[in-house]
Symmetry: D2
Subunit: 285 residues, 4 copies
């Protein structure tokens, strides 16, 4: 398959949107290969992800936006245009746990994330420096304390800007980012929480799952918002536990969930398959 363009759209639901958008692409010689729409009937919002081949498309990349603009205005659309060969620049934040980091390093290296370029890893500890550098990825150490937090975040943001980072992955990063930080990367910070949210929001979810005697534990990847563990959920998965599982067993089983649930969220984000609205996600997978 050749190069493609991807249009992500949301707008008030009304008649004729689909016909107008597909007509625009067809008239200009585009071959639609994926079209996925969704309507939230309760809130009357229309969502679409549409992808078409560019080989015979008559409009050059740089002018597609302008050409599409009248349709967007007519339907009051919020929209994004992406190209299949776009590469997002990625930063990973970690603390001491290595399982999610490891999985991501492997996947970037193995070519599982063609839409992402892993530029750097930031950590508040030095434990994972050697591992990261063994993969040839720059490692930055930013120790964080209650006192220096604001200042450290400022420096981190400078580095992220310098490197043109588009996506931040919190791979079991044990610090809470400030609202100012989050605001600069709205819907572009993916966190992995080690519980089946909204059960066990906050710290030590496996311990609390053990205390409560649940029979299933889970992991949740979500975009980070100002409210802790309350951002739009991207993906969740679960695994059975029983009275035989100690907290340590749960932590061990949970690790396998966490890394896969995080990797799926990163993949969908890099493939422009996620639309966020109303603190929820539409996943066009």
């Amino acid at each position: 398959m050749g190069r493609t363009a991807i249009l992500l759209i949301s707008c008030p639901d009304t008649k004729g949107i689909l016909a107008e958008v597909t007509g625009f692409i067809a008239r200009n010689g585009g071959n639609i290969i994926h079209a996925d729409q969704h309507i939230d009937f309760q809130k009357k919002i229309f969502f679409m992800r549409i992808e078409w081949e560019l080989s015979d498309f008559k409009i050059p990349d740089s002018q597609i936006g302008d050409a599409f603009s009248p349709i967007a205005q007519k339907f009051k659309m919020e929209w994004e245009l992406h190209f299949s060969d776009e590469v997002k620049r990625v930063a990973i934040f970690v603390s001491k746990h290595d399982h999610c980091l490891y999985e991501l390093l492997y996947r970037f290296k193995a070519g599982d994330f063609p839409g992402g370029d892993l530029r750097l890893v930031i950590s508040n500890h030095l434990d994972l420096k050697e591992l990261v550098e063994r993969f040839g990825v720059p490692f930055y150490h930013f120790p964080v304390s209650r006192e220096n937090k604001q200042e450290v975040e400022k420096k981190e943001l400078e580095l992220l800007k310098e490197e043109g980072i588009d996506l931040i992955i919190l791979a079991r990063y044990m610090q809470i980012l400030s609202d100012q930080f989050v605001n600069q990367y709205r819907n572009r910070i993916i966190n992995i929480h080690h519980s089946f949210l909204p059960a066990f929001v906050g710290a030590k979810p496996y311990h609390r799952a053990y205390e409560r005697g649940v029979k299933i534990i889970g992991a949740t990847s979500h975009y980070v918002t100002e409210e802790l563990d309350q951002g739009p959920i991207i993906e969740q998965d679960v695994v059975r536990v029983s009275h035989r599982d100690s907290v340590e067993d749960m932590i061990r089983k949970g690790r396998d969930l966490e890394k896969l649930v995080l990797a799926r969220a990163v993949k969908w984000h890099l493939e422009n398959k996620i639309l966020v609205y109303d603190n929820k996600t539409v996943i066009f997978d």
Copy 2:
């Protein structure tokens, strides 16, 4: 939501299909509420299910087919047109196992299958007569032997024709239907097989799963074709087993799978969400 029309389409993939179909609906005042397309890139086939509200649609029901015909011809489409208030007439075939029958009787009664009208139950045994009649559904007893099979099928087909049956559900019916029978209801006979096909095709799958020592068992709903257990798969599901599970335990656990996997297939069929091609199904769920 009001009355809707549903168009199921498959045709050779080419440019402009989506634009043309959605344009047709939009031009005539239809409000598209679901549009789901799929392309088999290997075989270059385009599939679509599109559903629109009829309240403001300018073309009367009976003329939609004719109006759409030129588009269908242009793209060499195979297509079906359905309406949301259509009701398919359903017959269930059973032998002695009651769990799938029970589930279906309940769901028809509970309103889970608004697109289906359960007209009758046919069995080669009398065991379930009382149960069926308690639900107010006509029960027909057709004992089958090697000798009378052809003749019995003929009578069954007459009854099915008389009652205008559109869909046959084999709810653990322990007889193999002849090719002639199957031919008259192509892609309109749904069977439940008590294994994770294609593992354990044929008889006594739980016994063979036990012998093989598998750690997961399954159930499969599929359309019936001439080849035993080889028809297009509609739905599958699985459950864990261990060395602790005897054959009887597997049968018991399997029952819960079978009835749900069968019910899902029936639901999708009645909602016109299934397209069959190449001995496979596209499920627009």
Copy 3:
């Protein structure tokens, strides 16, 4: 397999418990067919379920307790003795939802619960009277209002006592039982909650799951305690949902979970496979 005895034990963990208990059974000619132990290392508690054939056992049923007593005292055991042909008398409480009731009625009828005798159904509404009576089960109507609640519960308890009820199943019963009521049936009232507890404790969990945008929904069966939805969890299960699922879809998918998760809990309870401690369950399945 012949008649068996089942011993459920919990006690402070120490050396020699298993040897002593199995020695007692072996010395008296019992053939152990299941032995399952568990130690909570954190709390240092020992749990065991042991089942043995009685055909050659030298102690008559009525004297087993006395014979075992010295061992029980030595290890400060809490213990229960059951026999495989014991039958617990069961009452189901319902309101208007019929899917869990239906599943239970079917299973009692189909012989899935040999350890239970369904004596009666109690409801605060009349909607399900006909269904219950069609199964030949006595139906009692106890309308509940804020004013008469205490009095109604008193009458219900009288009826339950008269009928010698051992187990109460709340099959989507939409009333909260008083502490006094719960106290009389400690660890003998099983409820089904339509969420993956502890997420969405309380009312309208599917609506809240929809609002929160979770990707998986669940159901939880648990023993009822004074605190709402906080009792010991017996079983949980989950199913995937997506942005395509409306609240109604979730409710529909959830129904299939609820009925199976409730049925599993009932089965384990009737087979004396559950030990409760510390607001958690040990399930010897």
Copy 4:
């Protein structure tokens, strides 16, 4: 928890086995921390895994076998004695796929397999040499052709003997081992097959799953026997697919299953939790 001994037993089922074994441990001061038994009632075989703390055990390690021997003889037991600080020496065989290898390298490094010492990796290709050596593990290249296969296996076996290898893991090794080879490591070679066995035995299972249109794919870890993909199944897991998944998508989804299913089997083997009989496994997890 301190050092423990683990006894794995299978023998004809009869009365008194459990009492005798636990009595032996208790009399000698052992504190049983896990005891798990299973009876195959069809074949009348008794299985047990029992683990006890050695801190106060009166018999020195080297004499436990002799001391236990009379009991073993009395009940005609096959038995193995292990100690919790035993370390099995492990070799991994790979070809070109790296995902399973990677997962195993990570887990050995992360301390997930305390019972295993990864001594070396053998491959018929050079592709993964760098990766293996980056982890500090010796890499051996044994190119295999139809002509030299016998000779190569001989050399491999010499190396394995020299290194005292106890367990061989085939981490997507694309060669079939000869019967002679397999015989030397009976129940000590673990393979990962990329299908839900017994569906799709042999080559290219994902392609065949795609062709068949299944709705769920799986992975299976098993001990290697002379018959291809027919050895005792240790663990299986599955993931949903749909018509939207191409063969490539299935391969990608399958990779995540394969690595976890293989890792679980390796973990159980290293913890002496697996008993093999009758081409099946009993997993005391």
